[in-house]
């Protein structure tokens, strides 16, 4: 297990290096740090002097190493628009996105597991057919369309729920949270339903197909033969083994989730990372854009490594395969 852990961490670091290299290349090719600092109204000679002073005329590789050194210490440059360190801007916006993702994950977990199990146990039942039919329709509806329709129905027509923003926030040690006020929760409902709507069908289908496969295995047949109660077989014996692949896929799907936060946050003008990213694209704020890519890269690599490690912990065959 120790060797496995080390290898996975080394792989993660390698991926992170590649990501940082790509990010630096992008910044080098399209960004202009001089403009980010002084604006466009400064003479060419002064700019050139500043370029020299900042080391922008150095060879590409030595600039990259300097970029990497700074990035490790948490300095990825100044945002052109906010006139603040890019990482600070991102950390300031992060809680909004994290709360949205958290609430959506809770919705997904509490709906997909019961429905998935139900469809696996009664595959021929009319209700399971309806659920499976709905799930393929759900996969085909883009998340932004769901979001717009929710806004139209629940805020424009019925006036039940607010359509944009985060509402009243409570400050808990620097973390601006909307989870503790009624207004904050009301603002959270529509975005989190929209965000979970796109992932739900996927998880229902995944849990169903996994569970159906498990129910065909020998040990389940043996459990039936032993005369165990059906609930015990379904929820304890079969469900445990269903959960494993679901955790792995769930970890990997985090990427899709972050992509969809960009769309959801744009529709609801949710002041989180995705909205920040689109604003950065519109304002050509290259430093902020690159910083966002780096932060998302770190989140990915960390989550994927942790998922791999958990998987290795519960399923030893993966570890043995990895040594070859």
């Amino acid at each position: 297990m120790f060797a496995f852990t080390i290898r996975r961490i080394a792989q993660g670091i390698l991926v992170m290096l590649i990501i940082s290299f790509l990010c630096f290349t992008i910044q080098h090719a399209i960004g202009d740090p001089v403009r980010d600092i002084v604006g466009i109204s400064v003479s060419a000679a002064e700019r050139e002097a500043l370029r020299e002073k900042m080391g922008l005329n150095d060879p590409f590789l030595s600039q990259y190493i300097r970029f990497l050194g700074k990035a490790v210490r948490g300095d990825v440059g100044m945002s052109f628009f906010f006139k603040k360190p890019a990482l600070e801007v991102i950390l300031f916006k992060a809680p909004a996105t994290l709360e949205l993702v958290f609430v959506s994950s809770v919705i997904i977990i509490f709906i997909s597991i019961p429905l998935g199990i139900y469809c696996a146990i009664n595959p021929k039942h009319i209700l399971s057919r309806i659920i499976m039919g709905m799930s393929i329709v759900g996969v085909s509806i883009p998340v932004f369309l769901t979001a717009i329709m929710l806004i139209y129905i629940f805020s424009v027509e019925l006036h039940w729920l607010p359509s944009y923003g985060r509402g009243e926030l409570v400050n808990i040690g620097g973390w601006k949270s909307g989870l503790f006020t009624i207004s904050g929760i009301r603002h959270l409902i529509l975005p989190s339903i929209a965000l979970s709507s796109i992932m739900l069908p996927l998880f229902i289908r995944l849990i169903r197909s996994q569970m159906m496969e498990i129910l065909e295995t020998e040990y389940i047949k043996f459990a039936w033969a032993k005369g165990l109660h059906k609930r015990r077989i379904w929820f304890i014996h079969a469900f445990k083994n269903t959960l494993l692949p679901v955790i792995t896929v769930g970890g990997v799907q985090l990427g899709t989730m972050i992509a969809f936060t960009i769309l959801t946050e744009t529709v609801f003008q949710w002041q989180g990372l995705g909205f920040l990213f689109i604003e950065a694209v519109e304002r050509a704020d290259t430093t902020l854009l690159v910083a966002y890519l780096m932060v998302v890269g770190v989140i990915f690599v960390v989550v994927n490594t942790i998922v791999d490690l958990i998987y290795g912990l519960v399923n030893p065959t993966v570890r043995i395969q990895g040594t070859r």
């Binding site: 399209i30 329709v137 883009p142 369309l145 992509a259």
Partner: protein
């Protein structure tokens, strides 16, 4: 046996005529493709011709509602364009981008998958590791990033001018790993078989073995994922256009139409968003259903319902 008789006796046709879902989906796809490609002839107005557009007509509701006119069947958008015509033209762009992007990603993916599976070793582990990393970032994410980077690099005006080509490029680059993995998996299985051994013994070179002998045997899974990938590509294009990283409002695709309608939903003009949305969902849904059916027919092993 003639080609016609072979088609008539094939298993695909046999299961096709017995599956009403597949038949319905096939008909709907055909109708959608037909009306979108015939749009210059059947659309009542030409949305690209600025002379025929009158801003006074903006936000006219559909004809069956109060204030609607029979001239505009589904109403007009925020600029006074006939929504039905704009929608048909937009669907044509969406379909073209979707198909071209799939051709590009299939081309990239098949070549990388073939080489990676046949040659193996270091190259294989490098290419597959790259595919893994890209897949773990999710194709939608990679497409959005590429779009953002391209827009920053080219500038907005340039980006809008070459939007179709750039979108094909972006979506193609973002989604090749799907193909590469599928092709590699079947290449690994085919490589063990005797006919490949025989071809090698005759002294054929690797390129010929790969392209003429192995490739034809790996095509059925490629066909299966291609259908679903077209739906994915159309979805990605819509998402990019919705974010403002895709087709400009002057030449809207379904995604950019939804985006331009979104601003007007608060004033009650729901039709600008709803109708393109319905067509988009219908298009993606029927392609997905066809893809599912094709997978079940061509690859019974994969059948999981």
């Amino acid at each position: 046996m003639g080609t016609l008789a072979r088609i008539r006796q094939s298993y695909i046709l046999y299961s096709f005529v017995r599956d009403w879902v597949a038949i319905t989906c096939f008909i709907v796809v055909c109708i959608l493709i037909l009306i979108s490609f015939l749009s210059p002839f059947i659309a009542p107005h030409n949305p690209y011709e600025s002379a025929s557009i009158n801003v006074m007509n903006a936000e006219t509701p559909p004809m069956w509602m109060e204030g609607g006119s029979s001239e505009f069947i589904l109403g007009t958008d925020s600029q006074g364009r006939d929504l039905f015509s704009t929608l048909l033209f937009g669907m044509r762009i969406s379909i073209i981008i979707g198909c071209c992007a799939v051709i590009l990603q299939a081309f990239l993916g098949v070549i990388i998958g073939l080489v990676s599976g046949y040659i193996g070793g270091r190259l294989d582990s490098f290419l597959m590791r790259m595919a893994d990393v890209q897949l773990s970032f999710s194709t939608m994410m990679v497409a959005i990033f590429l779009g953002a980077i391209f827009q920053a690099a080219f500038g907005v005006a340039m980006y809008e001018r070459f939007a179709v080509v750039l979108l094909v490029f972006i979506i193609g680059l973002a989604e090749w790993p799907q193909y590469a993995r599928t092709v590699r998996a079947s290449v690994l299985a085919e490589k063990q078989k005797e006919y490949v051994e025989a071809a090698r013994v005759i002294g054929l070179n690797s390129a010929r073995i790969m392209l003429r002998h192995i490739l034809p045997n790996t095509l059925s899974p490629v066909l299966v994922i291609s259908t679903v990938q077209v739906a994915n590509a159309i979805m990605s294009e819509a998402a990019l256009s919705f974010l403002g990283l895709g087709m400009p409002v002057t030449r809207p695709s379904l995604g950019s139409l939804i985006n331009s309608g979104f601003e007007f939903i608060f004033s009650g003009s729901w039709w600008i968003t709803l109708f393109p949305g319905i067509f988009l969902v219908l298009l993606i849904l029927v392609i997905n259903l066809l893809g599912d059916w094709l997978r079940d027919v061509l690859n019974p092993k994969l059948y999981k319902g």
